[in-house]
């Protein structure tokens, strides 16, 4: 009977909308996973550098999506949101710089 204690149905509707959005994000993540597999493992692209850049870039976007929608960083205070954004941007910049320059 906890639904009753939580008050008006608006809360439930918000929760349901978030669940639908999470499902959509899951579809995007599955699509991205299969895409990176095709790029990296199935040798769909010849250039090693382009493959590495795409695989690292897509991984960073996936990390951000998991943090944002699954970890619910989207509703966290600004400090945590900025920390996660900085981590994702920093990760892709560091790994690409090491790969391309090193």
């Amino acid at each position: 009977m906890n639904e009753m204690q939580q008050g008006p149905g608006a809360v439930d509707t918000m929760g349901s909308a978030e669940m639908t959005r999470t499902l959509l994000v899951w579809f995007v993540l599955v699509g991205a996973t299969v895409s990176t597999y095709l790029i990296g493992a199935e040798r769909a692209i010849n250039s090693d550098r382009i493959v590495a850049a795409m695989v690292i870039g897509i991984a960073a976007v996936k990390v951000w999506l998991v943090a944002w929608q699954f970890m619910e960083v989207n509703r966290a205070p600004a400090g945590l949101r900025h920390a996660i954004n900085a981590y994702c941007v920093g990760l892709v910049a560091l790994l690409l710089a090491l790969y391309l320059i090193g």
Binding site: G15, V66, P77, L80
Partner: protein
Amino acid sequence: MTVLETLAERDRQQAVPGEPGLWVLILGDLLIFGWFFALIVMFRNENPALFAAGQAQLHQDYAMFNALVLLTSSLLVANGMRMLRMGNPRASRMFAGAIVCGAVFAGVKAIEYTSLVNEGHLVAANEFFLYYFFFTGLHLGHVVLGMAALAVAAVWARPRHARRPRRERAIEGVAVFWHLVDLLWIVLFALLYLMR
């Protein structure tokens, strides 16, 4: 809506998921793994031939399957958390489903490790396999720890347990940790299995 209600609503909408202290551990883990990810890229640059030869022995299809399994477990945990907040009695089943996904991940990893060892690719075989077993083994440790935490969450989320805010926060913390497990695999999969 009174001022107090407005503040409470804002507080509810802008809250750190789980205990704030847990995020110190989560962000610390992310930074340590960030360093590990950099080490993998540097190792690949210094030994491109060894890296390519080692990677060719890995089972990329298993790793992709496992990535999809962890993504699905994350979906179950994220929506299980929302169901719990909505008072839905099936929330506990979502966490149980995620534990099954974790077990599938560990099982596939065990098959992969066994086949590599049988082919003679041991930890000591070369530096690539040292990196591979160390990083994936450390991640597997996270999976096992996460499964144990999810088991507690699944019990606490059962409808016969009274809803307590502190427990709900603890379950939120377990959920955040499980998503971290998923997130780390996303990058390990990209770097160890796919990056050339």
